[in-house]
C-alpha cells in the first residue's frame, strides 16, 4: 500500500473494498507532537488503520561527535538529548564512564547524585503531566506543574548554575559541593509536594471527562510491550513490575526504600496513575536521601586526563522516560571509540503504531502524550 506524502495535504486512496483511505499528515510543526515529530496517519473515516512515524528532524549526530571529543568534553552533549531531564542523562553517562574506568564515585557523591536525579524525575513527570493534560484539554494543570517545576529548577540553579541543561555531574563524582541550604530546600519542596500531587489528582483522577478520554485508550499488553522493547512507566503500566533501580541498583538506590507502581491494563489512564505515583515515590527517596548525606570527598580518584583501558561496557539507568543505556567502546585513547546511546523515547515511540490502531484521530494526540517522548532523545 503506497504512502505518498504531498506536503501537508490530503491523499485519498481507494482500498480494495472501495472505501476511501485518507492519509493525514500530522506534520513536524504541530502543537501537540512535543517536538518535531511527523506522523503519517492512514484513516478510514475517523478511525486510524495505520501510521508511520517520520523522525530525524532533530538528528544532530551526537554519537558521531562523541568519537571526536574526550570523555569529559562529551558530557555536556548528553544533557541536550532528553533536555527535559538532563540530570538523568548526565548520571547515566558519568556512571558508564566510571564503569569503563573501573572507578567508583565516593558515597557522598552517590547520595547527592541520587537526590538530584530523583528531583529531576519529579520535574520531568511534572512537565509530562502539564503537557499531556493540555493536549487533552485541561488548561490549568500545566501552570500548576510548572510552578512546582520552578522550585526544582531553582534548586538546580543554586547547585550548578543551570536550570535545563545542567551538566551537574562529573566523571568520578561531582564537581560542585552541595550548597549549604540544599537539604533545607529539598526538604521544604518535598514537604509541600505531597499536597500538590493530591491537588493534581483531585483535578484529574476522578474526573469523568479525563477518565473517559484516557481509559481504554492506547492499550499495550505486557507481551506486546516486552516484544516492542518498551521500558519505563509505559512498561510498568502494562503490568510488568520492573525498574532498574530495583533490579540492578546503581548510585545509592539500594539504600532507600521505595515501591514500584505498576498498572494493570496498560492504557493511558494506567500510565497516568503510574507516573503520579512515581512522583510520590521519588519524593520519598529524596526525603530519605537528605536525612543522611555521608561526609567525605565528592570526586573519586580520577586523573585530569581520562584514558580508560581498551574494552567496552554497557550501563543503563532508569531515566524518567525508560531505560537509558550507554554503550561505550574504548580503544585506550582519550576519546571514546564508539558511544551508543539507547534512547528510551525512540523505542517507546516504536510502539505508537500498535497503540493507535483502531482509535479515533482525537486519541492520537493523547497517546503520543502518554508515551512521554522527547524528540531530542529520539533523534539524538
Amino acid at each position: 500500500m503506497a504512502d505518498r506524502y504531498s506536503g501537508g495535504g490530503v491523499n485519498v486512496e481507494t482500498t480494495v473494498l472501495g472505501a476511501d483511505e485518507i492519509i493525514l499528515n500530522m506534520g513536524p510543526q504541530h502543537p501537540s507532537t512535543h517536538g518535531v515529530l511527523r506522523v503519517k496517519l492512514r484513516l478510514d473515516g475517523e478511525k486510524v488503520v495505520g501510521s508511520e512515524c517520520v523522525i530525524g528532524y532533530l538528528h544532530r549526530g551526537v554519537e558521531k561527535i562523541a568519537e571526536h571529543r574526550s570523555y569529559q568534553q562529551f558530557a555536556p552533549y548528553v544533557d541536550r538529548m532528553d533536555y527535559v531531564a538532563a540530570v538523568s542523562n548526565g548520571l547515566g553517562y558519568c556512571e558508564t564512564v566510571e564503569k569503563l574506568m573501573q572507578v567508583e564515585a565516593p558515597p557522598r557523591a552517590r547520595v547527592i547524585r541520587t537526590i538530584l536525579t530523583e528531583l529531576q524525575r519529579i520535574a520531568s513527570h511534572l512537565f509530562w503531566l502539564g503537557t499531556h493534560a493540555l493536549d487533552i484539554g485541561a488548561l490549568t494543570p500545566l501552570f500548576y506543574c510548572l510552578r512546582e517545576r520552578e522550585e526544582i529548577l531553582k534548586i538546580f540553579e543554586k547547585y550548578c548554575g543551570a536550570r535545563l541543561t545542567t551538566h551537574a555531574f562529573r566523571i568520578g563524582g561531582l564537581q560542585y559541593e552541595a550548597y549549604d541550604e540544599l537539604e533545607k530546600d529539598v526538604e521544604r519542596f518535598c514537604k509541600g509536594f505531597d499536597k500538590r500531587v493530591d491537588e493534581y489528582e483531585s483535578l484529574l483522577t476522578e474526573n469523568r471527562i479525563w477518565v473517559g478520554r484516557t481509559k481504554g485508550i492506547g492499550i499495550l499488553t505486557a507481551e506486546a510491550a516486552i516484544a516492542m522493547g518498551v521500558t519505563g512507566p509505559v512498561l510498568r503500566a502494562s503490568g510488568v513490575q520492573w525498574d532498574i533501580r530495583k533490579a540492578m541498583p546503581y548510585a545509592a538506590y539500594d539504600q532507600y526504600e521505595f515501591s514500584i507502581p505498576t498498572g494493570k491494563n496498560g492504557d493511558t489512564y494506567d500510565r497516568y496513575l503510574v507516573r503520579m505515583e512515581e512522583m510520590r515515590q521519588s519524593r520519598k527517596i529524596c526525603l530519605q536521601g537528605i536525612e543522611n548525606i555521608p561526609a567525605g570527598p565528592i570526586l573519586g580518584k580520577v586523573g585530569k586526563v581520562l584514558k580508560p583501558p581498551p574494552g567496552e561496557v554497557y550501563h543503563s539507568i532508569e531515566a524518567p522516560k525508560g531505560e537509558l543505556g550507554y554503550y561505550i567502546v574504548s580503544d585506550g585513547t582519550t576519546q571514546p571509540y564508539r558511544v551508543r546511546i539507547r534512547p528510551p523515547s525512540l523505542i517507546n515511540l516504536e510502539a505508537l503504531d500498535q497503540m493507535i490502531r483502531g482509535h479515533l484521530v482525537a486519541d492520537v494526540v493523547a497517546i503520543i502524550g502518554t508515551l512521554d517522548i522527547v524528540l531530542g532523545e529520539v533523534d539524538r
Binding site: K64, I226, A227, V230, A247, G311, V313, I347
Partner: protein
Amino acid sequence: MPLDNELVKRYKARFGGGIVEAWLDRKQAILVVAADRLLEIARYSRDEEGFDLLVDLTAVDWPKREKRFDLVLFLYSFPKNERLRIKALLGENEPVASVESIWPTANWLEREVYDMFGIVFEGHSNLKRLLLPEEWQGYPLRKDYDILQQDEAWVRENLGIESGQ
C-alpha cells in the same frame, strides 16, 4: 577475560562452532557468534534461555579489521534478571539476517544501523533510513565518513544552500 560458565556451555553445546568466542569484560558477558547463525542463536536465546527483551541493537566499525563491523545485540532476561551481549562480525558488504521476527523492536533499531552503517538486514520488513532523509548517500557512523562531511548533492537540491557548515 575468557568466560566459560553454565550459560556459555549451553550455547556451545547447542551451536558448537557457531559460538566463536565468549568473554567477560568489566563483569559483563559477551558472546561472539558467527553471523550466518545469528538468527537461530537469537531464537534460541529468546525461547530457551529466556532473553525476552532486546534492549538495544547497534554496530561498531573497525575499519582496519577484515570483517569491519561488529553487530552488537544487547539482551535482557526478565525471569533471570541477567544481561547478555551477543556480537557478530560482518564484512563490508555482507548482509545479515534480521532479528525482527524474533524481537519486533528490532524494526527501528536495525533501520538505524542500516542508516548509520550501511549494514543490510535480510528479511526486514521496511529497511529504509530512519534518521536521515531517504535519499541521503553515505553512512555517517562509519569511520571513513568525516565528521564535517555531508551529502552535498542532497543539501544543494533540497535545502537550496551550498553547505550546512
